[in-house]
């Protein structure tokens, strides 16, 4: 039984050879033992650069924003279950046309972070065997999600007093250097001109002082409410280790509780902030 890497290479080689796609975005071996790097392969012989292992942490969907890929008729993209969820979001929002992308899904038992630990998303994963794909590599993996994994960390924040919670976020956001790695890595940060890049008027101060950082990080979390699929690309990319996923998960919890909605499942679903119910929670409004 060929392993995942072999299968991915075979499928990519085939797609590139018969013109199904102009290029395939995947992962290749990185420069260090526990790294892989996103790669664009354009010809069948390059298909052998592709690999898949537990170090394939990056969400490649963020590259679908690239002009070089947008200009292609058809692009192949290797995707874990979590990556597929973000693609579903992109299709839902008409950012990507379904028939321009060939999904080379891969079953995944989980990836490892740089420090060797298992990400929360893998402990909570329900999509080890993606069901939304064009072709799929790898033996099916049974999902065994830990129901507490996603919200466990939130409980610590919930338990803090208001002042303590504010102090916690001040400490974290004060570290922010406004490198925007979070935004660039995120597959769903799709604005051609980010709100932080607009200065007529300047809603979000670009200076990395506490007020500017607070504004930036809150607004980014808000703009992802109901859209974030918790692929953890942002938190993984952050060079100053801000626990961004805590914010994102807190909002995901609210969106689920109040609107009974989970992103990344149905490309036909209406985004929760673009729709409403007559009986939405009104209790907090005077």
């Amino acid at each position: 039984m060929p392993d995942r890497t072999e299968q991915i290479r075979e499928i990519a080689r085939k797609w590139l050879a018969d013109g199904t796609v102009e290029a395939v975005v995947g992962w290749e071996k990185g420069t260090h033992a526990n790294r892989t790097a996103p790669v664009l392969v354009r010809s069948p012989d390059e298909a052998d650069r592709l690999v898949f292992d537990e170090n394939c942490t990056n969400n490649l969907m963020t590259y679908l924003k690239r002009p070089v890929l947008k200009g292609m008729q058809k692009v192949g993209i290797v995707a874990k279950g979590c990556d597929v969820k973000s693609l579903i979001g992109l299709i839902q929002e008409s950012q990507v046309e379904r028939d321009k992308v060939k999904i080379l899904a891969v079953t995944c038992p989980g990836v490892k972070k740089d420090d060797g630990t298992v990400p929360v998303k893998c402990r909570a994963c329900e999509v080890n065997t993606p069901e939304f794909f064009d072709e799929r590599a790898g033996e099916p993996v049974t999902s065994n999600p830990d129901p507490n994994a996603r919200l466990q960390e939130l409980e610590k924040i919930d338990a803090l007093s208001l002042e303590e919670r504010h102090g916690f976020w001040r400490t974290e956001f004060d570290k922010c250097i406004r490198c925007y790695a979070c935004r660039q890595a995120c597959p769903l940060c799709i604005c051609s001109r980010c709100i932080a890049e607009k200065n007529q008027p300047q809603w979000v101060e670009t200076s990395p002082h506490p007020a500017g950082n607070f504004s930036w990080n809150l607004i980014r979390a808000y703009h992802l409410a109901g859209r974030c699929v918790e692929c953890e690309a942002c938190e993984t990319a952050c060079p100053v280790n801000i626990p961004l996923m805590l914010m994102n998960r807190a909002l995901a919890r609210t969106v689920k509780e109040k609107f009974d909605y989970e992103p990344g499942k149905d490309p036909e679903a209406k985004p929760p902030l673009r729709t409403f119910r007559l009986d939405d929670d009104n209790s907090f409004i005077l």
Binding site: A33, A37, R66, C179, T206, P208, A237, N241
Partner: protein
């Protein structure tokens, strides 16, 4: 000439003594799984077990800096200059690649304009460097840019951890020698030249696998339009991680933050990898695509800056390599350029 030695375990105490004398102290401390250079933390937290993720440049060139205040009065503007802090500062536990960044960037901050925000801080800062017995990270490549794991450049004092217990001390500059008293308190013995020399050689040996980059500039100058850039830089996200963690990167943005008729002018870190960095008001962007921006980064560091100031704008600290979220290794890029040049491509 023999070097004074002290015990490794006394380093936090020494750092605390130095801070107690009214100095601002920056030192590497652990936060979770990684180390960061921080100010205003307890010296007892000093951690020298790895190379910190951020660089010391924050002490001299903060990520955001108030430079003046302004107030409209009718048709006039009253400007209040803000003086940079005048507090003596100690950077304790910089790595040689951090310290070496200072003489590299100093000419930049004094080129066509003497930047008091950098200069004032620099003049009040003493750098105590912790040399590397072995390359502290897989990503290190200081030897490739003409430095070494125990280079003295930019340092006032260099500490050589000869083994787990013993640290040899080299007071290099006037500012370093002025701290002799503080160090003498912890003197335990002495070490001969030979011990430090072997230390230096051990460090170099740990990086023997790194390429010399002597042909890089020549190739860069001759291959501006080369498919290499598109092929090699696809994964670059265009974030500022490499730029902001880099000890030598120094671009900044000026922002005026107004509240009605007055405000503050800020000087903030900026980076050439951002999409809008070279966007003109006309709408034209000469570096509108990521490969062009990345090419610029390499060209600036390895060709343009050397042309202007005679030094490579890189100390091989490896932070960009280790922390790029998409593993675009700058070392890998320049080493590939070196290979291309060697092959005559």
């Amino acid at each position: 000439m023999p070097f004074m030695t002290m015990e490794h375990a006394d380093l936090p105490n020494l750092a605390r003594d130095l801070a107690a004398a009214g100095r601002r102290l920056m030192l590497p401390v652990r936060e979770g799984a990684e180390l960061f250079f921080r100010e205003g933390v307890d010296a007892a937290r000093l951690d020298l077990t790895a190379i910190p993720k951020n660089s010391i440049k924050e002490a001299l060139f903060p990520k955001c800096d108030r430079i003046l205040k302004y107030q409209y009065e009718g048709r006039e503007v009253a400007v209040e200059d803000i003086e940079p802090p005048d507090q003596p500062t100690v950077i304790f536990g910089a790595r040689p690649c951090d310290a070496a960044s200072l003489p590299i960037v100093e000419p930049l901050w004094n080129w066509d304009y003497r930047d008091k925000f950098f200069n004032q801080r620099r003049s009040r800062t003493v750098v105590i460097t912790y040399a590397c017995r072995q390359a502290p990270a897989e990503a290190c490549f200081c030897v490739s840019v003409g430095l070494s794991p125990s280079t003295e450049q930019g340092s006032d004092v260099v500490l050589y951890p000869l083994d787990e217990k013993t640290v040899a001390v080299n007071l290099l500059t006037e500012a370093g020698k002025a701290l002799e008293g503080a160090f003498a308190k912890y003197r335990k013995g002495q070490a001969e030249d030979g011990a430090v020399q072997s230390f230096r050689e051990g460090g170099l040996k740990s990086l023997a696998h790194r390429k010399k980059l002597d042909k890089v500039k020549g190739w860069l100058d001759a291959h501006f339009e080369h498919p290499f850039w598109e092929q090699k830089t696809f994964q670059c996200l265009g974030c500022g991680t490499c730029t902001f963690l880099c000890p030598t990167c120094h671009c900044f943005d000026i922002q005026d933050e107004s509240v009605f008729d007055g405000g503050t002018r800020w000087k903030n870190w900026d980076g050439c990898q951002f999409g809008l960095f070279t966007l003109h008001t006309s709408g034209h962007n000469p570096r509108g695509a990521q490969p062009q921006r990345y090419r610029q980064r390499i060209l600036h560091k390895y060709s343009i800056y050397p042309d202007k100031f005679g030094k490579i704008l890189c100390t091989g600290c490896g932070r960009c390599v280790a922390h790029c979220p998409v593993n675009l290794s700058l070392y890998d890029v320049v080493a590939s350029v070196q290979e291309l040049a060697e092959k005559g491509e």
